[in-house]
């Protein structure tokens, strides 16, 4: 985001503190991204719609308390969305679902210069099933939402080094299991 865009966003936030209608602009801007993020963790359209509404409602209710913490405003929305998803799974006591797009998996495999076939995909799904949930969340934010480690740490309420460690451990296990040459894109 450019500096002008960032300043524009903060002016909207300032106005939203007095007038909830002003927050609508941020709602329109981020709704799709938040929806996709939540959908990837539920695979249920109606549930995703509920949780997305709840995310923006919580954000609007707490807009007075929003403070810049060195990460974009969108990271705050992702944090609220992540908490809403966690609350849902804790309440329902169900196993967390991760629903990932095949196109994105294919892109990542191609980046690793690996062939893409059904067998490899099935093995990858089995491998991902066995990873701890907190590791999957970091991977999802890193490779499907293109978040940097600072944002991931903020969203998941962990340290930046914790976010990096979880990613590198998952990548190590992937390399050993699949003998992949995973490139680290250096994006920090």
């Amino acid at each position: 985001m450019s500096e002008a865009e960032i300043l524009h966003e903060y002016s909207i936030l300032d106005r939203s503190k007095k007038d909830p209608k002003a927050f609508g602009e941020l709602y329109e801007k981020y709704f799709d991204r938040i929806f996709s993020f939540i959908y990837r963790q539920t695979d249920d359209e109606d549930l995703t719609a509920d949780l997305s509404s709840q995310t923006f409602l919580t954000a609007l209710k707490n807009v007075d308390r929003y403070e810049f913490r060195g990460v974009p405003f969108s990271a705050w929305l992702y944090k609220i969305a992540s908490n809403e998803v966690n609350k849902h799974y804790r309440k329902k006591k169900r196993t967390q679902v991760f629903s990932i797009e095949e196109t994105r998996v294919r892109e990542l495999m191609e980046q690793a210069n690996e062939g893409y076939d059904e067998e490899m995909i099935q093995r990858l799904m089995e491998f991902l099933k066995e990873l701890p949930t907190d590791m999957l969340r970091v991977l999802e934010l890193r490779f499907f939402e293109d978040k940097d480690f600072k944002e991931i740490a903020f969203i998941l309420d962990i340290t930046e080094s914790g976010a990096k460690m979880r990613t590198y451990r998952a990548m190590d296990r992937l390399r050993k299991n699949f003998k992949l040459r995973i490139k680290y894109d250096g994006k920090e």
Binding site: F31, E45, S52, Q96, L136
Partner: protein, 100 residues
């Protein structure tokens, strides 16, 4: 950390389908409703606190009044006596008031 369920989706969810769920009007309405409930709850809480304070004030006042008011009188009979060998024996009666 237990096992997770991983599902592979062939297609991304389309922006058209996402747009069907977009409804800022609903968010605003819910937000205003929540604000109204919070305002009512806050007003009610203040009212209850004030009521409790008034009640406590009243109770203290009543207790203080009870402390100030005389509790009652006790009559005793005292018999005055003339000169006699036994000064303990009364010879006349007078009434005294003993105030507690």
């Amino acid at each position: 950390m237990g096992r997770n369920e991983i599902r592979l989706r062939r297609h991304r969810i389309s922006s058209g389908r996402i747009a069907q769920h977009r409804n800022y009007g609903d968010i605003m309405a819910r937000h205003e409703r929540d604000q109204k409930i919070r305002r009512i709850a806050r007003t009610f809480t203040y009212f209850v606190i004030i009521l409790i304070v008034i009640l406590m004030f009243y109770v203290v006042r009543v207790w203080e009044r009870k402390q100030d008011k005389p509790k009652g009188t006790t009559a005793y009979v005292e018999e005055s006596q003339g000169p006699s060998a036994d000064s303990r024996q009364p010879t006349a009666i007078s009434y005294g008031m003993l105030i507690n």
